[in-house]
């Protein structure tokens, strides 16, 4: 293979110990110039921790880092940036209170006469983002944009910062196929320029599409590094999980609409400025998928169904009985559940333990005067930690210390614990590893069989197709198409979105 000197970045024997958990155990990793190197592993395997050790966000407990053959020791991320390492950390790590342009150029703003030249900065920001087909107002606050846009901005910033190495920790988790394609185009271009690129993801198709080599971690240990071309998918999964995976996603197909009656009926449901009024019927035991481009109003549909935003028109009924969906609390009383898209802002209660995070919604529904006993909480937490395979050293660990995917599972557990009749999942499998992915989809199917109705929003069309009996397509904050039965295929969905796209373009 390559000689040692051709490695732009190599790490030898990296150790990282957290109280109660050994996150990295003598991990070796090397990144060649001009290669895309996928870093894979289950949730909690230590991928993000390795990245943070390499970029100085964490102090490692042992091991050496070599950049261009010379030993480096970045003390903080600023130093890593100066060394030419650009990083997109997991979760969007940008500042919502700054403008898009300020986020892009923080710490390296163009200056004139010693003062920041805002006009020049905005100009450059627009130029930078145009490479990603993003034509947005860069002087607006970042918080005005969806997670996906923020993700693109984060990527643009990191790419612009990276002189030698670009590290992408789950950059595609909230991106659509279109954005992913754009990203890959840029990655390939950087690769040609001789950059080393580390790419972390749970989407195996993307791994095979873009990466040259693969390194797999499991439980903080290095399993091995392989050439992508020489590693079949089955073997890769076995490497990651340490076992064979039975029944990966994409097998089961529930296109046949379930025979149940329409249970939930929404008529003219909508809210000015958020989502155009729409009609929606959901049967018992049915999964309705929602597809659309970024910003098409999927999340807004979910929020309005759950009462997080109050609908200002239309009616909702269950079995002919009117529903009160004026607030999340009211919705929960109607046995609704909602697993939000942005887990950091809307989902986790960072300082509370995994146990409390799982018990929270159930407890809130019971009211403060009827506390779940500690025993019950423990049982609940243990059950879901096992059922969803949440990797945590113990259930009392503050949830913010869990890996991203495991946080996602804990939020899902929170809602499953309430045993809802109507569950809305906004990007439920984002950042979840293959093993758990299969697990969750199995769970969804099981829940449906038990009579729960589900709305699932996902950018992964294959996943949507796999378990939805109907798929709604959104565009410009309006429901524009509904595919049912045999028409629920990726092709048809893409077509429906594209058709609307075409219309929007004219």
């Amino acid at each position: 293979m390559q000689s040692a000197s051709s490695y732009v970045l190599s790490a030898v024997g990296i150790d990282k110990v957290f109280p109660g958990a050994r996150a990295l155990d003598r991990v070796d990793f090397s990144l060649a110039r001009g290669e895309v190197h996928a870093l894979l592993g289950e949730n909690g395997a230590g991928k993000s921790t390795l990245v943070k050790c390499l970029t100085g966000a964490y102090r490692r407990d042992g091991g050496r880092i070599l950049l261009d053959g010379g030993e480096v020791d970045p003390r903080d991320t600023l130093e890593a940036q100066k060394l030419g390492i650009g990083t997109v950390y997991q979760e969007v790590n940008l500042l919502a209170n700054l403008t898009v342009a300020e986020n892009l150029f923080l710490g390296r703003q163009p200056r004139r006469f010693g003062l920041v030249d805002a006009r020049e900065m905005n100009r450059r920001a627009r130029a930078l983002l145009s490479e990603y087909d993003l034509d947005i107002d860069v002087t607006a606050g970042l918080s005005a944009y969806s997670v996906a846009v923020q993700q693109v901005v984060a990527i643009a910033r990191a790419v612009d910062l990276s002189g030698k190495v670009l590290i992408l920790d789950e950059p595609t988790a909230s991106l659509d196929t279109h954005e992913v394609a754009l990203l890959f185009r840029i990655v390939r271009r950087l690769k040609e320029r001789g950059l080393g690129i580390v790419f972390i993801t749970h989407f195996l198709e993307q791994v095979y599409e873009i990466s040259d080599r693969i390194t797999v971690l499991r439980n903080g240990q290095l399993v091995g590094t392989r050439e992508t071309a020489a590693l079949p998918r089955r073997d890769l999964i076995a490497m990651m999980l340490g076992r064979e995976l039975v029944g990966e996603v994409g097998s089961g197909n529930r296109h046949a609409a379930p025979g149940g009656d329409v249970r939930y009926r929404f008529r003219g449901f909508g809210r000015k400025g958020h989502i155009r009024p729409f009609d929606l019927d959901v049967r018992t035991g049915e999964v309705v998928g929602i597809a659309g481009l970024l910003g098409s109003g999927r999340t807004e549909t979910a929020e309005i169904l759950f009462g997080a935003e109050r609908a200002d028109s239309g009616t909702a009924e269950a079995d002919g009985r009117p529903l009160d969906l004026s607030s999340p609390r009211a919705a929960i009383r109607e046995k609704f559940g909602f697993c939000p898209e942005d887990r950091k802002v809307d989902g986790i209660i960072g300082d509370l333990s995994v146990r409390e995070n799982i018990a929270l919604a159930l407890q809130a529904r019971r009211g403060w005067a009827r506390p779940l006993s500690r025993g019950e909480q423990d049982r609940l937490a243990d059950h879901y930690i096992r059922a969803l395979d949440i990797r945590t050293s113990d259930r009392e660990k503050p949830i913010r210390l869990l890996s991203g995917g495991n946080q996602q599972k804990a939020i899902l557990a929170r809602w499953l614990a309430t045993n809802p009749d109507f569950l809305i999942l906004d990007e439920p499998t984002r950042g979840i590893d293959v093993g758990a992915h299969a697990e969750i989809i199995r769970l969804i199917e099981e829940l449906c069989e038990k009579g729960m109705s589900l709305i699932v929003i996902s950018s992964e069309l294959e996943e949507l197709v796999a378990y939805s009996s109907r798929v709604l397509v959104l565009r410009d904050r309006a429901h524009v198409a509904e595919l049912a039965g045999e028409r629920v295929t990726t092709g048809a969905i893409v077509e429906a979105i594209a058709a609307s796209d075409g219309r929007a373009g004219t």
Binding site: T77, Q81, T87, L95, N97, E102, G107, A140, K272, G273
Partner: protein, 322 residues
Amino acid sequence: MNARYLPLTATVAIFLAAYLVCVLQYPNMLSTRVIGNLLTDNAFLGIAAVGMTFVILSGGIDLSIGAVIAFTGVFLAVLLQATDIHPLAAFALALLVTTAFGALMGAIIHHLDMPPFIVTLAGMFLARGMAFVLSIDSIPVRHPFYATLKGLYYKLPGGGRITLIGGLMLVVFAAGILIAHRTRFGANVYALGGGAATAELMGVPIGRTTVAIYALSGFLAGLSGIVFSLYTSAGYSLAAVGVELDAIAAVVIGGTLLTGGSGFVAGTLVGILIQGLIQTYITFDGSLSSWWTKILIGLLLFIFILLQKGLIHVTERRRRHA
């Protein structure tokens, strides 16, 4: 207009409306005298509030400024009384001390990872305690240079004056606006307020920035102390009690969020003027008892905040539906 300027615009609009109401009731309030007084009388508060704005923008708080103002006053008075040092040298010395004091608090906040509220509360005790130790008496300053400085003013038609200290406040505000919006340090302050951990991941030197922010606040509190010393020609250890709360109120009325990361230095100026206006109005009225004065101040504060909220809410709604 950009949505980010909404709170600022709302505040300015409310100030102008309130001023109009006052003038309709007391035409005298339009005199240049009142306007000049508004600047001169609030100069020390305004200067200190600029520092407070930076601190709050970064997500912190500085409770020590009132005590630092008092300390600076006593320090100058004692120094000028006991030695022959020129006031300008004394000013420089005082600024050095207060800046170092601020930097020390910043260093403690950052390196020991302690909440600013408590560190600066201890700083407040310490600064006032130091003032007491220097002297519990109020000490007049009789240096001729003070008289010279006070003689510098720009006379407005109608008897009003823009005094040196009033002008200085405007200069400090201008400088503050420049620093906040046109320097990398300013951007780092906003970044820190948006989230220290995220800012650190983005490569903001948070340690250096934190120390600099509190040093700046200390410097401006010291400058404010010098202004206060000029304003009263004296040093007094019980002076400027509770100024920090007035400053915080001005900053918040000016549209800055206490959670950090969002707001404007210019807004603080309007906040100061609004508070000054409330006070002037109450004095012009002159019929209120001590207790009704307090109640009215609270009430007017409440109304201003409410108006601001309402205005922002309505505009945002309209924007959304447009």
